[in-house]
Amino acid sequence: MSPLLEAEGLTLRFGALRALDGVSLALWPGEVVAVVGESGSGKSSLLRALSGLARPEAGRVLYRDAAGAACDVHALSEAERRRIARSDWGHVHQNPRDGLRMGVSAGANIGERLMAAGARHYGGIRAAAAEWMARVELDPARIDDLPRHFSGGMQQRLQIARCLVTRPRLVFMDEPTGGLDVSVQARLLDLIRALVEELGLAVLLVTHDIAAARLLAHRIVVMRQGRIVEEGLADRVLDDPQHPYTQLLVASVLAA
């Protein structure tokens, strides 16, 4: 088996600041990889570079599609990149406002990706939207409500439904549980874990929440100052951290 997404020597600078400094990473099908690190360590820059939103100064990102053909994400034309982002990838933002259209109903939010993929049957789109609302534990009776009338946790679940409705193979998640209170976080993590298992998704999860990483991830990558300082199986990294920075990070988690 070959990796789904493969990055080599990614470098990205903002002026004198090195956001990414020769980062290499591989993500296999069905695998959940968590990228952890403090604010400013380059986690989000890595996510943006991998998903083609930010062009790195050096290095390349290879994506292998369902047919097994590899393409360089940054060499694609915008039309091709958007097509892949629409059909094969999903993006869950930290703030649901960035991922949802706040002015249209929940059903339209879920249906937009289907319509972008060419669905033109209103009843079919609506049925798919209702089904996905149920799958993310939203009441399908609220299909015509605006997202702004939903709570933060519900908006986040709606965002996940919107992103998974086209059955992507790879989902980028940027702090999906950030800004939610603890009990809502726990339910959301449970939901994400169940869906990932069920759909066999590959997930690249960026988080500074070590507990979320432990719960969801198979593998953990620790970043600091634009470099990967440690990488390994989730339990190994968290139970037996090798790098001093990882030790500090794991030791700083507050026990309840």
Partner: protein, 306 residues
């Protein structure tokens, strides 16, 4: 609102004088059709480009015209640059030949170009229109010029024009489809009774200018050349003859043009698009054809049959 009793300038009774040439002919103080030759060439180049890419908006250097923005500065510039001395011009405003806007523009070209003007759709070679397509089917030797207030069909959905250009380039019209979904979800049907977006030649999403949905099917494979001019927004676009034009819809909610369920109060037509006219302040109203020429023709036919 148009007076139901037609003025003599309009279609009037059958047999009335409907075609006229300004007695003094063309005013020699103006260049032919008002615009200078270089400007007309620039506009013609934009028109040719627009015809080559059906439905795609072509920018052009719109000039100040002697009428306010929103009154048809785009349409009048397109008309000015395609008009020849032998053309016969008809101008309609919401289907009517006798409203201020239509009368003024007709007079303007009679004075600056000395062309013959008419109110008869069948006789015209160039028809400038605001918000309607004539009821009588157009022919290959006719050109219909639309006055367009806002050429961008995604304008209400995506406020950034740079982004709408990108969406057109990528043919990504899911946003317009989302709007339609939302209309049907909230109201059970498409909420746009006019200016319903169309897909031209399977490629570009286009605003049909604010014509009623009733007229949308007439855009499809029309034998006449359809030109659209937006003066304020400085854009020209076109639908060449016999180009497929499809109104945006869903497979299970097909586009359905709307028409008031009445016969015309003047000619009795049950197929023409109707205007609702309030006749008094006690709820009295009448429905009459919006296309005055088609109405007069139908009334003439009805009169002859009687």
């Amino acid at each position: 609102m148009r007076d139901p009793v037609r003025s003599p300038e309009g279609a009037g009774a059958p047999g009335a004088e409907h075609r006229r040439r300004e007695p003094e002919g063309r005013d020699p103080h103006y260049n032919f059709a008002y615009l200078d030759e270089a400007t007309k060439r620039m506009i013609r180049r934009a028109i040719l480009k627009a015809i080559a890419i059906p439905g795609h908006q072509i920018p052009f250097g719109a000039r100040e015209m002697p009428l306010p923005y929103g009154w048809g500065t785009g349409g009048i510039q397109v008309t000015a640059s395609i008009l020849g001395p032998s053309d016969v011009l008809k101008v309609i405003d919401q289907g009517a030949d006798d409203t201020t806007n239509a009368v003024s523009i007709r007079r303007f070209f009679a004075r600056t170009a000395g062309v013959a003007t008419t109110t008869r759709t069948a006789e015209a070679t160039v028809i400038q229109t605001r918000h309607r397509i004539p009821e009588r089917p157009l022919r290959e030797d006719q050109i219909l010029v639309f006055q367009v207030p806002m050429p961008e069909p995604l304008f209400r959905l995506e406020p950034r024009l740079a982004e709408t250009r990108r969406l057109h380039a990528l043919a990504d019209y899911s946003l317009a489809q989302v709007k339609l979904y939302e209309d049907i979800a909230q109201q059970g049907e498409s909420a746009s009774s006019y200016n319903h977006p169309v897909l031209v030649n399977g490629r570009y999403l286009m605003s049909p200018s604010p014509i009623p949905g009733f007229d949308n099917p007439k855009l499809d494979r029309n034998p006449a050349l359809l030109l659209f001019g937006a003066g304020r927004e400085k854009k020209i676009y076109a639908v060449p003859p016999y180009t497929p034009v499809k109104s945006l819809d869903f497979d299970d909610h097909p586009f359905a043009p709307m028409r008031a369920p009445h016969p015309c109060a003047l000619c009795g037509s049950t197929t023409h698009y109707l205007d609702e006219i309030v006749t008094d302040d006690r709820g009295g109203r009448m429905f009459v054809c919006s296309d005055t020429d088609a109405c007069a023709e139908a009334a003439g036919r009805a009169g002859a049959a009687r």
